[in-house]
Amino acid sequence: MRTHFLHRAAAAATVLSVVAVGCKKAAPPPPAAPPPAPVAVASVDLGKQLGPDKRVVQAMTTFGVRDTIYASVATTGTATSAVLTALWTFQTGQKVDSTATTIAPTGPAQTEFHIVKASPWPKGKYKVAIWLDGQVAGEKEFEVK
């Protein structure tokens, strides 16, 4: 009797599992990959020497009158086209230089801007503003002594 019951139970379980397989829902589609992060400025560092990775060798905010001044801009994110602009100004608000470059980063990237002057830099305070697609994305002040 007990054996008979077990056989029936096993048969029922088999039928149920076949039905379950037959009714199995299609696997849900894999979640869509998140959209790539838009490009953003992560940091701005100043220096007078660049490494091969376009980062400043030593970050500083005081320069000599004969120095070439570098601003190294770290960006994150991706873009098919993004305009980075460096606007250099003197303490009077006078424009020293403005340079724009278009990049298509596919991940973290380093972009350097530099200014060099044939005659000595006037001593005083300066500022470089980094614009990303028309919006200020970073600023750094420095001094020439």
């Binding site: 376009k54 305009v83 460096a86 250099w88 230089d97 403005s98 298509a104 380093q110 200014i115 005659s119």
Partner: protein
């Protein structure tokens, strides 16, 4: 304190430049609409109106006078 009578310093001999580890974008095209000028397009696409000459140089075959561009013209926009 800055003396207002002091002459402004001369930055005319400053040279600026840039380079990046990021790749440059592929050349784009831009279709001129009413009210456009080369400097307006350069400002929008390069962030600097002064770069209009880059667009002019790349499209000299179809732009005879840089002050005259026409709606519908498709301009090459080289990366800068």
């Amino acid at each position: 304190m800055t003396d207002p009578n002091e002459p402004l310093p001369d930055f005319s001999d400053v040279q600026g430049g840039s380079s990046s580890t990021a790749p440059k974008p592929q050349e784009q095209t831009y279709t001129v609409v009413k009210g456009d000028s080369l400097s307006k397009i350069a400002k929008a696409l390069y962030g600097s109106a002064g770069k209009w000459k880059v667009i002019y140089e790349a499209n000299k075959d179809m732009i005879k006078n840089p002050d005259l561009i026409y709606p519908g013209q498709v301009l090459r926009i080289p990366p800068v």
